[in-house]
Symmetry: D2
Subunit: 467 residues, 4 copies
């Protein structure tokens, strides 16, 4: 309530009580003031109640919620269902304008405000996670998942170098990466990885060679990947960045869930300082525990971020931004740090538990943890002859363990994705000597108790299926 109405309350409730309430209202207003001026994660997360009050107030700034609003246009933010209106706090105009996804809506000052603030909060959260100021002078939060965002990013690059059709792509067996290149109307050029011990690593020589072969003027960019399933290592982005700088080729990093890994963050900082990085893209859901649907494009180059924003045609859905906004306000700096720290500290616990378990069954943890700090795997060398490797995965799933993946290398399967044929698709390489394996991840939000229960359930499954 504004001061005038608070004063009017004194006609109804004792003056001294209202004075106290007024003071409380100003505690709330100070929280908001601090958000609007500092534009950083609050030190301590806001309560749900405070968040909802703020959202109710902000959404009143959108024209469709004006008490006296009359809409005589073709798009007036009318919402038929009360359930739908409620779940969006009355925000219905989305974000952006026809010209630019970053442009503010005259009809929707509230939505515009949330979009702006979310950008600031994301930047702050990324800095807390280790990104340096020069690495991320600005970012763009898009209401599209990483695949489509990668496509838009490359499409924007393509407008700047229209003749260059090729995208050099160190193989990563995740379909949407490859498809994003095709969606942008470009031609993916796979670079086969090399196997070193248990690790699958970037083949820098092959990249260099391919540049010579195709001609740098025909290459739009190198598309590298950091966070990925073991036994693949994150790409050697520092070397790639240096090469890109030297060859004057753009460099896009798919950093889907890399914000949570301080080593990857460090490497991105290095890459931006020492080489060329045009953009790095991360998933909102995989890093910030929101529902699927958003991505963050960041870049050391502010202008390129702007260009992407301007290349987005029309308005967009504001829901993923709202999710992120609520989440970051709710986490605050404290819990965000705790989540990052907790994931990091559970990693050795998880891999040790798995090492112990693997030993019980004469299997072993793949030796990849030095490089890949999120995903890791154990061998599946001693399966009963009657047990196809994939059965381990489906048995785990039917025991309510989701997210583990079995790579069956027992036969030499071929797959075609985006018109390219791959051997052993899913394993990131044509031939992986250690054979079939099971991968697991230690991702943000996981809890110790989950690890313990997973190990128990995996033990039961292995007991039955290993000879």
């Amino acid at each position: 309530m504004n001061q005038k109405n608070l004063d009017l309350c004194k006609g109804l409730v004792k003056s001294s009580y209202i004075d106290q309430a007024t003071q409380a209202t100003s505690q709330y207003n100070k929280l908001v003031e601090s958000l609007l001026t500092q534009r950083r994660l609050p030190d301590q997360g806001w309560s749900d109640k405070v968040i909802e009050l703020f959202l109710e107030q902000v959404s009143m700034m959108d024209s469709n919620n004006f008490v006296e609003n009359i809409g005589v246009g073709e798009r007036e933010g009318r919402v038929f269902s009360g359930l739908v209106q409620k779940r969006h706090y009355g925000l219905s105009h989305g974000i952006g304008r026809s010209g630019d996804i970053n442009e503010q809506q005259p009809k929707a000052a509230g939505s515009s405000l949330i979009q702006k603030l979310t950008n600031y909060l994301v930047l702050d959260a990324m800095k807390i996670a280790g990104f340096e100021s020069d690495t991320i002078p600005s970012c763009l939060v898009l209401p599209m998942a990483t695949g489509m965002t990668l496509a838009l990013t490359m499409a924007t690059l393509a407008q700047q170098k229209p003749q260059a059709k090729y995208v050099l792509w160190p193989r990563i067996d995740q379909k949407s990466c490859l498809k994003s290149i095709a969606t942008a109307g470009l031609v993916p050029v796979p670079i086969e990885n090399i196997v070193v011990g248990d690790l699958i690593k970037t083949n820098m020589d092959a990249i260099q060679e391919k540049i010579s072969q195709l001609g740098r003027e025909n290459i739009l960019c190198i598309f590298s990947t950091t966070s990925c399933f073991a036994p693949r290592a994150p790409d050697d982005i520092v070397s790639i960045s240096k090469l890109c700088k030297q060859e004057n080729i753009a460099h896009i990093i798919n950093n889907a869930y890399g914000i949570q890994d301080s080593k990857i963050v460090h490497n991105i900082n290095q890459s931006c300082r020492q080489g060329r990085v045009d953009a790095f893209i991360q998933s909102t859901d995989k890093n910030f525990m929101v529902p699927v649907g958003g991505a963050i494009v960041a870049s050391p180059n502010k202008d390129f971020i702007q260009a992407i924003g301007k290349n987005y045609p029309g308005r967009a859905n504001g829901s993923p931004i709202l999710d992120l906004f609520i989440t970051l306000l709710s986490m605050g700096k404290d819990i965000w740090k705790t989540l990052l720290d907790s994931r990091k500290s559970l990693l050795p616990y998880f891999t040790e538990s798995l090492t112990t378990l693997a030993k019980e069954f004469n299997e072993r943890l793949l030796d990849t943890v030095s490089e890949n700090k999120i995903s890791f795997g154990i061998t599946l060398s001693n399966l009963k002859t009657s047990t196809p490797p994939s059965l381990i995965g489906s048995k785990l799933f039917s025991r309510s363990c989701s997210g583990s993946r079995v790579i069956d290398l027992s036969s030499n399967k071929k797959n075609t994705v985006a018109n390219i044929e791959f051997n052993n698709y899913g394993s990131h390489t044509d031939h992986y000597p250690p054979g079939s394996y099971l991968t697991i991840a230690c991702a943000i939000g996981i809890e110790k108790q989950e690890i313990d229960i997973f190990i128990q359930r995996l033990r039961l499954v292995l007991k039955k299926e290993l000879s």
Copy 2:
């Protein structure tokens, strides 16, 4: 947002858009101002969005929601479950203080404000329904249903006339009425009604006689009933009031769902003007379409209302008051009037439909509609010998028709309630010549379509069970 924060938004969103949003915020503030100053139903109901924003703001005035609150008492309004907190908008201190249910809570200025405003809104809604200003100079909304509220009202009366134990009670066969007398530690004295045509009416002579017999000094009050199931008519409260005035005996009216009936309202006005009425009690759910749990005590005597408030020991649940507050804001004057008018105008439609249906089966509408404007009935004279009357009721209920009641007068049953034995309990009289019947009500909120479907379903039931 307050003006300062709105201005700060201009650092993030275009100044002109924020100016527009500021204007919208002030539209909202004007709604609130109007509520706080006029304290009447808004002409048009508030949207859910506006209501929720207001509740979020008001609840921030309660200490348990202060951003910086520390609670070191034994009752600090802590709420464990987020679901529970949300459903009460963070309001958890209830209403009242140990001394008086109407007293304001220092810890809960917001809850106190809602209680106060609800009182005003209820008074306004009752005036719109026809109550005159002198009839209801004040009222008390209690978070207890009518039965317990009647008990508290009589207990308060009893403190003023401690030796008087008797309550004269024109028979109304609804258990909680009778029990409320016993709960208050008093002795009910039933007054048998008289049957006139199809109607069951107040026996004024019997009341007069009972007063003489017991002695007015031993009689605490007469407990009359307005809204009731046909074929009972509302009590002749005008005559009772005059008698009470003349005999200096208190008069309590159970007006459970009488607000919706303008004839009853008119009679209460008359009674207050010409006779003695100490209090009349109405249900919140039966009149205002909120969940069960509240009652309104009104009186032409302000002091008595205050005495009841002071007699309530301790705090009370605020939930029924909140329901009423939300509902009245949401209805506004417009819809509240429409609901009253619509019920009134559907009454002839319903009774005509029922008359027609009854004729089809050689039954008839009981001739009570001139007096009882809410409940009415049809005879059940031609049931198959194998069909007990109650079967009609249970068949209707199993066809998802709730609320109809069958009174089976085929045998002469005796029941004991609160230690008093009754003949044909449920029919309000020892002997009702027209025999068994089915009652139905045309209550607030009913829709034409419901009437049509009910008639259809009833026809199907009667077809099978009437000979």
Copy 3:
């Protein structure tokens, strides 16, 4: 979804995915089954999502939510406002029937189910807190706060011994206790306490003497109090119970927030075993962290609990029961135990912090902690002459510390409550030698961080106001 519909989903979504989902549905069904059969707190609390699904399903069992329902009665559970409906999950019929608050509603099987289950869960939670099976064979959860519930309990007692008007009441300076006696139409007979060291204790001799004086046949009951503000100790209920048994006088214990104190619980067990306890009443909000509005009447005597239920006239609001139901499901056994343990273990931390602080200012912790395990106090002996004691309280409140109370014994004030005059009302005794003091409580739900901040704020206040 039921099995048939799950199977139909296979026409839309892959059969194996639906099979997995079916299995998940049955995990949920097993939770429900376990609740319905074991009727105890779940070992681990249910998630909000599971609770809401369950409530949505249960509320579909109430007739007002039947898809095909037609209501033709005077009370059909119609809810005007979507906000109101939502916040009650569509439950609108309240609880109880006219005859008995414990009776089931034919129109509201779902509400009835929740009421029943809540009773079982409360019994289980109380047993976990230490109550023995013989102490609580049954209980009644009422949607009224403790004051009104005490009144109803005594009113029910009074029906069994109508001539006995006196209630012996060891003085406890909390208005609603005293007023509950008056509301029930009874006469409170205060028993002045005795001061022993810093403690204010039950005067057993005075009770005994008063019984002789008034005659046991004229005494309805002794009304004792456990949980209370320091420096008053919980009444010596074991001695009182023995006396009641010996004198054949009823005994009602006001155990408002005593469930959280294992010592009080132990004493209630002892009292029930060795003496006479007719009922003990506890607040739902003070013990279970729900909004104000409910109370639990328990008794070793099942029949008396039933009698109270039957004495409640009419239906009642279901909201406080729903709050408790949600809360207990959400807590589960684990968290409920943790909350009890945590409060207990924070008590020494709090009193030690306070002792240290008091020393800084030449004040001292009142020596009451051996007896009163929830509330405690420090002296206010060295206030500046310009500082009235009450200023400490209001300064704390304006610093967002709620719940501390200052008892100003600097002048000898007289107050009249329920027509009885008291010296130094608020201090539980006519004369308390240690002088003015500040009380604070360590109540369930308090967190260590709150204690630390409170101590800081109190230090700042004392610094200014102590000489």
Copy 4:
């Protein structure tokens, strides 16, 4: 509850009440069954309560909500904030898989089910609006607004005809249309419209000529527009379709808000039957009153719809699909038809009101209503010399009228959009003889009362600004 648990309830609540509740549960199950088997809008909309119960049940089918779920992958649908989880009903896995946005998620059977059902419901709603079965054998609901969806559609077309870079584009001055072509990496070729009377119409000759000039093999498609701001008419899509068929050029129709206009729908049917239409794209928010963020791609060619789905890289946000799902279930067939009919019938009311108003000020309604059935305009010929036309728009906006647009043709402005220079951008043509004007729309969801208030407010504005 399943049958077993319902039966278990009989241990707690009377058997006959539970039987009744079981019957009610089966009424609900029948609604669901009907949805799953008929896959059409329910005849009558579902209540919010039923919708929420269904969503709670369906979301339990997603693995992140399994009671016993353990997530050990990199994306486990964890949701940090309870507010976020609640607003998505626990659905967090989005839609689609890396390979195909239409593919089902093994981890998310519930989300997949909703996506599938939404597709069916949208098809049904479109058929009710007049689309013939052959026009829409299938559709794709994408969680991107129309601009980005148009880009994806053209990018998909481009993969089939990689050498063709040109998109013939009858000028429509709405930025996102033009930009969508550029985003897809294609070259827009504007076709200037012709002015006929007040109408701005498709220049078929110019299109024909441009095809000859550029060569059909170099033209990817014609991009036509139906719903648009007056005085532009919907493009002559029937002629364009015939031409496309004849020239073997693809045809994409931007039908942003055309579902609500039966004439446009009719023309699309005709176009599909008589000519070539590859896809027509419509906004979800502009037609179905949901928040901005979704679009529907439809096509008479099922394979092309599939190709677009497969071209979408990765998962996507499920929120816009959920909004649509809730909305269509809530509307039902009845209200959807009523909304369409009501808009249609308010059009003459609105234009007549405007005609009358215009006359008052010596202005006139532009004569475009015979062709454009949604948007219309009035001339602004008599403005005071001191009044720039745009002032009318901003004055209306500051009077809380949103959506009207002023086209200021008083000077001959030039704008560059997507590197193309336009005269009088916003007016769809280089030169519009009637001069400056104000446009207004009669869009779905508008109410008579809104029209009346708008006319009042416009009158006040014009009074001041017209000479």
